[in-house]
Symmetry: C2
Subunit: 107 residues, 2 copies
DNA sequence: AAGTCATATAACCATTTGGTTATAAATAAA
DNA sequence: TTTATTTATAACCAAATGGTTATATGACTT
Protein backbone atom coordinates (compact mmCIF):
# COMPACT_ATOMS: atom_id res chain seq x y z
CA UNK A 1 0.00 0.00 0.00
CA UNK A 2 1.52 3.26 1.27
CA UNK A 3 -0.92 5.96 2.21
CA UNK A 4 1.26 8.45 4.04
CA UNK A 5 -1.79 10.61 4.72
CA UNK A 6 -3.37 7.81 6.70
CA UNK A 7 -0.08 7.07 8.44
CA UNK A 8 0.50 10.58 9.73
CA UNK A 9 -3.14 11.35 10.56
CA UNK A 10 -2.67 10.16 14.13
CA UNK A 11 -0.40 11.92 16.66
CA UNK A 12 0.73 8.66 18.22
CA UNK A 13 1.91 7.43 14.85
CA UNK A 14 3.70 10.70 14.17
CA UNK A 15 5.54 10.31 17.45
CA UNK A 16 6.46 6.73 16.59
CA UNK A 17 7.89 7.92 13.28
CA UNK A 18 9.85 10.63 15.06
CA UNK A 19 11.27 8.14 17.53
CA UNK A 20 12.21 5.69 14.80
CA UNK A 21 13.86 8.49 12.85
CA UNK A 22 16.57 8.56 15.51
CA UNK A 23 16.89 4.90 16.34
CA UNK A 24 15.56 1.40 16.06
CA UNK A 25 13.40 0.37 18.99
CA UNK A 26 11.80 -2.79 20.24
CA UNK A 27 8.06 -2.81 20.72
CA UNK A 28 8.33 -2.71 24.49
CA UNK A 29 10.74 0.23 24.36
CA UNK A 30 8.21 2.06 22.24
CA UNK A 31 5.33 1.15 24.54
CA UNK A 32 7.29 2.75 27.38
CA UNK A 33 7.19 6.08 25.53
CA UNK A 34 3.38 6.21 25.58
CA UNK A 35 0.56 5.89 28.06
CA UNK A 36 -1.60 3.61 25.92
CA UNK A 37 -1.67 -0.17 26.19
CA UNK A 38 0.61 -2.56 24.35
CA UNK A 39 -2.15 -3.85 22.01
CA UNK A 40 -3.14 -0.26 21.18
CA UNK A 41 0.41 0.64 20.26
CA UNK A 42 0.81 -2.60 18.34
CA UNK A 43 -2.15 -1.57 16.17
CA UNK A 44 -0.47 1.72 15.32
CA UNK A 45 2.72 -0.15 14.48
CA UNK A 46 0.75 -2.54 12.27
CA UNK A 47 -0.73 0.40 10.36
CA UNK A 48 2.71 1.89 9.79
CA UNK A 49 3.99 -1.51 8.62
CA UNK A 50 0.94 -1.89 6.39
CA UNK A 51 1.70 1.49 4.84
CA UNK A 52 5.30 0.35 4.35
CA UNK A 53 6.82 3.24 6.28
CA UNK A 54 8.44 1.07 8.95
CA UNK A 55 9.72 -2.49 9.03
CA UNK A 56 9.59 -5.04 11.82
CA UNK A 57 12.07 -7.81 12.44
CA UNK A 58 12.14 -10.52 15.04
CA UNK A 59 15.13 -10.76 17.36
CA UNK A 60 14.63 -13.49 19.89
CA UNK A 61 11.53 -12.57 21.86
CA UNK A 62 11.88 -8.97 20.82
CA UNK A 63 10.33 -7.26 17.84
CA UNK A 64 12.50 -4.48 16.51
CA UNK A 65 11.09 -1.65 14.42
CA UNK A 66 12.96 0.63 12.07
CA UNK A 67 11.98 3.48 9.77
CA UNK A 68 11.94 2.68 6.06
CA UNK A 69 13.63 5.96 5.33
CA UNK A 70 13.79 5.64 1.54
CA UNK A 71 10.12 4.98 1.07
CA UNK A 72 9.22 7.56 3.66
CA UNK A 73 11.23 10.13 1.74
CA UNK A 74 9.56 9.22 -1.56
CA UNK A 75 6.09 9.37 -0.09
CA UNK A 76 6.77 12.62 1.69
CA UNK A 77 8.02 14.14 -1.57
CA UNK A 78 4.72 13.24 -3.21
CA UNK A 79 2.83 14.80 -0.33
CA UNK A 80 4.89 17.95 -0.68
CA UNK A 81 4.10 18.15 -4.36
CA UNK A 82 0.38 17.65 -3.84
CA UNK A 83 -0.04 19.86 -0.80
CA UNK A 84 2.66 22.35 -1.70
CA UNK A 85 0.94 23.01 -5.00
CA UNK A 86 -2.11 24.23 -3.13
CA UNK A 87 0.06 27.09 -1.93
CA UNK A 88 1.95 28.24 -4.97
CA UNK A 89 -1.19 28.33 -7.05
CA UNK A 90 -1.36 32.06 -6.81
CA UNK A 91 0.43 31.83 -10.15
CA UNK A 92 -2.17 29.55 -11.60
CA UNK A 93 -4.81 31.87 -10.23
CA UNK A 94 -3.32 34.65 -12.33
CA UNK A 95 -3.15 32.36 -15.33
CA UNK A 96 -6.79 31.42 -14.88
CA UNK A 97 -7.68 35.07 -14.66
CA UNK A 98 -5.75 36.02 -17.77
CA UNK A 99 -7.30 33.20 -19.75
CA UNK A 100 -10.59 34.81 -18.83
CA UNK A 101 -12.08 31.64 -17.37
CA UNK A 102 -14.33 34.43 -16.13
CA UNK A 103 -14.10 34.82 -12.41
CA UNK A 104 -16.84 37.44 -12.28
CA UNK A 105 -19.24 34.60 -12.92
CA UNK A 106 -22.85 34.50 -13.96
CA UNK A 107 -24.23 33.05 -10.73
CA UNK B 1 -9.45 23.97 15.67
CA UNK B 2 -7.14 23.29 12.71
CA UNK B 3 -5.90 19.76 12.33
CA UNK B 4 -4.37 19.81 8.88
CA UNK B 5 -3.58 16.10 9.19
CA UNK B 6 -7.26 15.30 9.50
CA UNK B 7 -8.10 17.71 6.69
CA UNK B 8 -5.76 16.18 4.14
CA UNK B 9 -6.31 12.57 5.15
CA UNK B 10 -9.08 12.18 2.59
CA UNK B 11 -8.48 12.37 -1.20
CA UNK B 12 -11.77 14.17 -1.84
CA UNK B 13 -10.76 16.90 0.59
CA UNK B 14 -7.33 17.18 -1.00
CA UNK B 15 -8.98 17.68 -4.37
CA UNK B 16 -11.30 20.31 -2.90
CA UNK B 17 -8.28 22.16 -1.55
CA UNK B 18 -6.57 21.96 -4.91
CA UNK B 19 -9.63 23.33 -6.68
CA UNK B 20 -10.02 26.16 -4.19
CA UNK B 21 -6.34 26.99 -4.56
CA UNK B 22 -7.11 28.26 -8.05
CA UNK B 23 -10.50 29.83 -7.57
CA UNK B 24 -13.51 30.36 -5.39
CA UNK B 25 -16.35 27.98 -6.14
CA UNK B 26 -19.95 27.58 -5.14
CA UNK B 27 -21.00 24.33 -3.53
CA UNK B 28 -22.84 23.14 -6.63
CA UNK B 29 -19.86 23.91 -8.85
CA UNK B 30 -17.76 21.77 -6.52
CA UNK B 31 -20.33 18.97 -6.45
CA UNK B 32 -20.08 18.85 -10.25
CA UNK B 33 -16.38 17.97 -9.97
CA UNK B 34 -17.09 14.78 -8.04
CA UNK B 35 -19.23 11.69 -8.35
CA UNK B 36 -20.44 11.68 -4.75
CA UNK B 37 -23.72 13.17 -3.56
CA UNK B 38 -24.27 16.77 -2.48
CA UNK B 39 -24.67 15.87 1.22
CA UNK B 40 -21.48 13.80 1.10
CA UNK B 41 -19.52 16.68 -0.39
CA UNK B 42 -21.09 19.10 2.06
CA UNK B 43 -19.72 16.99 4.91
CA UNK B 44 -16.20 17.26 3.51
CA UNK B 45 -16.63 21.00 3.15
CA UNK B 46 -17.85 21.21 6.74
CA UNK B 47 -14.74 19.41 7.94
CA UNK B 48 -12.49 21.81 6.03
CA UNK B 49 -14.42 24.77 7.47
CA UNK B 50 -14.19 23.22 10.95
CA UNK B 51 -10.44 22.92 10.51
CA UNK B 52 -10.36 26.55 9.41
CA UNK B 53 -8.68 25.86 6.08
CA UNK B 54 -11.51 27.17 3.95
CA UNK B 55 -14.24 29.78 4.49
CA UNK B 56 -17.83 29.76 3.34
CA UNK B 57 -19.93 32.82 2.55
CA UNK B 58 -23.53 33.12 1.48
CA UNK B 59 -24.31 34.86 -1.81
CA UNK B 60 -28.01 34.73 -2.50
CA UNK B 61 -28.96 31.11 -2.69
CA UNK B 62 -25.35 30.16 -3.39
CA UNK B 63 -22.69 29.21 -0.90
CA UNK B 64 -19.24 30.26 -2.02
CA UNK B 65 -16.11 28.59 -0.68
CA UNK B 66 -12.60 29.98 -0.66
CA UNK B 67 -9.22 28.75 0.59
CA UNK B 68 -7.96 30.40 3.76
CA UNK B 69 -4.51 30.62 2.25
CA UNK B 70 -2.75 32.27 5.20
CA UNK B 71 -3.82 29.69 7.73
CA UNK B 72 -3.24 26.89 5.28
CA UNK B 73 0.32 28.10 4.79
CA UNK B 74 0.94 28.32 8.54
CA UNK B 75 -0.42 24.86 9.18
CA UNK B 76 1.47 23.36 6.29
CA UNK B 77 4.67 24.89 7.60
CA UNK B 78 4.12 23.16 10.92
CA UNK B 79 3.49 19.89 9.16
CA UNK B 80 6.71 20.33 7.22
CA UNK B 81 8.63 20.92 10.40
CA UNK B 82 7.16 17.88 12.11
CA UNK B 83 7.31 15.46 9.20
CA UNK B 84 10.38 16.94 7.57
CA UNK B 85 12.32 16.42 10.78
CA UNK B 86 11.72 12.69 10.50
CA UNK B 87 13.88 12.78 7.40
CA UNK B 88 16.83 14.93 8.32
CA UNK B 89 17.31 13.03 11.55
CA UNK B 90 20.24 11.20 10.14
CA UNK B 91 22.15 14.03 11.80
CA UNK B 92 20.46 13.48 15.11
CA UNK B 93 21.12 9.78 14.68
CA UNK B 94 24.82 10.56 14.55
CA UNK B 95 24.53 12.86 17.53
CA UNK B 96 22.74 10.16 19.49
CA UNK B 97 25.46 7.72 18.57
CA UNK B 98 28.25 10.04 19.60
CA UNK B 99 26.60 10.79 22.89
CA UNK B 100 26.71 7.07 23.44
CA UNK B 101 23.02 6.72 24.20
CA UNK B 102 24.19 3.17 23.55
CA UNK B 103 22.70 1.78 20.41
CA UNK B 104 24.23 -1.63 20.90
CA UNK B 105 21.69 -2.13 23.64
CA UNK B 106 21.34 -4.73 26.34
CA UNK B 107 18.19 -6.38 24.99
C1' DA C 1 -48.11 32.18 -7.12
C1' DA C 2 -45.85 28.24 -8.84
C1' DG C 3 -41.85 26.12 -10.17
C1' DT C 4 -37.00 25.41 -10.10
C1' DC C 5 -32.42 25.41 -8.35
C1' DA C 6 -29.01 25.46 -4.34
C1' DT C 7 -28.31 24.27 0.08
C1' DA C 8 -29.20 22.14 4.59
C1' DT C 9 -30.37 18.52 7.48
C1' DA C 10 -32.12 14.16 9.18
C1' DA C 11 -31.91 9.31 9.39
C1' DC C 12 -29.68 5.57 8.26
C1' DC C 13 -25.74 2.25 7.15
C1' DA C 14 -21.16 -0.15 6.94
C1' DT C 15 -16.47 0.33 7.92
C1' DT C 16 -12.57 2.18 10.23
C1' DT C 17 -10.31 4.04 14.20
C1' DG C 18 -8.46 4.07 18.61
C1' DG C 19 -8.89 2.35 22.66
C1' DT C 20 -9.72 -1.36 26.40
C1' DT C 21 -9.15 -6.10 29.05
C1' DA C 22 -8.05 -10.82 29.06
C1' DT C 23 -5.38 -14.45 27.55
C1' DA C 24 -2.32 -17.32 24.77
C1' DA C 25 2.21 -18.38 23.01
C1' DA C 26 7.09 -18.00 22.70
C1' DT C 27 11.50 -16.99 24.50
C1' DA C 28 14.77 -16.01 28.12
C1' DA C 29 16.19 -16.16 32.91
C1' DA C 30 16.21 -18.23 37.66
C1' DT D 1 11.46 -26.50 35.23
C1' DT D 2 9.17 -22.89 36.92
C1' DT D 3 8.87 -18.04 36.37
C1' DA D 4 9.11 -13.69 34.18
C1' DT D 5 9.09 -10.94 29.97
C1' DT D 6 7.70 -9.87 25.31
C1' DT D 7 4.66 -10.16 21.77
C1' DA D 8 0.33 -11.57 19.55
C1' DT D 9 -4.45 -12.00 19.26
C1' DA D 10 -9.30 -12.14 20.43
C1' DA D 11 -13.36 -9.90 21.90
C1' DC D 12 -15.36 -6.02 22.90
C1' DC D 13 -16.71 -0.89 22.84
C1' DA D 14 -17.60 4.04 21.52
C1' DA D 15 -16.86 7.37 18.28
C1' DA D 16 -15.60 8.97 13.79
C1' DT D 17 -15.69 8.45 8.66
C1' DG D 18 -17.62 8.37 4.34
C1' DG D 19 -21.30 7.34 2.06
C1' DT D 20 -26.52 6.98 0.93
C1' DT D 21 -31.70 8.56 0.30
C1' DA D 22 -35.36 11.48 1.45
C1' DT D 23 -37.00 15.79 2.59
C1' DA D 24 -37.17 20.56 4.15
C1' DT D 25 -35.92 25.35 3.54
C1' DG D 26 -34.71 29.51 0.93
C1' DA D 27 -34.11 32.24 -2.94
C1' DC D 28 -34.29 33.38 -7.46
C1' DT D 29 -37.42 32.70 -12.12
C1' DT D 30 -41.36 32.65 -14.74
Amino acid sequence: MTDIYRAIADPTRRKILTLLSRNEYTQSELVDQFTISQPALKKHLSILVEEDLIAERKDGRYCVYRLKRDNFKDQYKKLQQEIGSVLDNKLKKLKTYLEGESDGESH
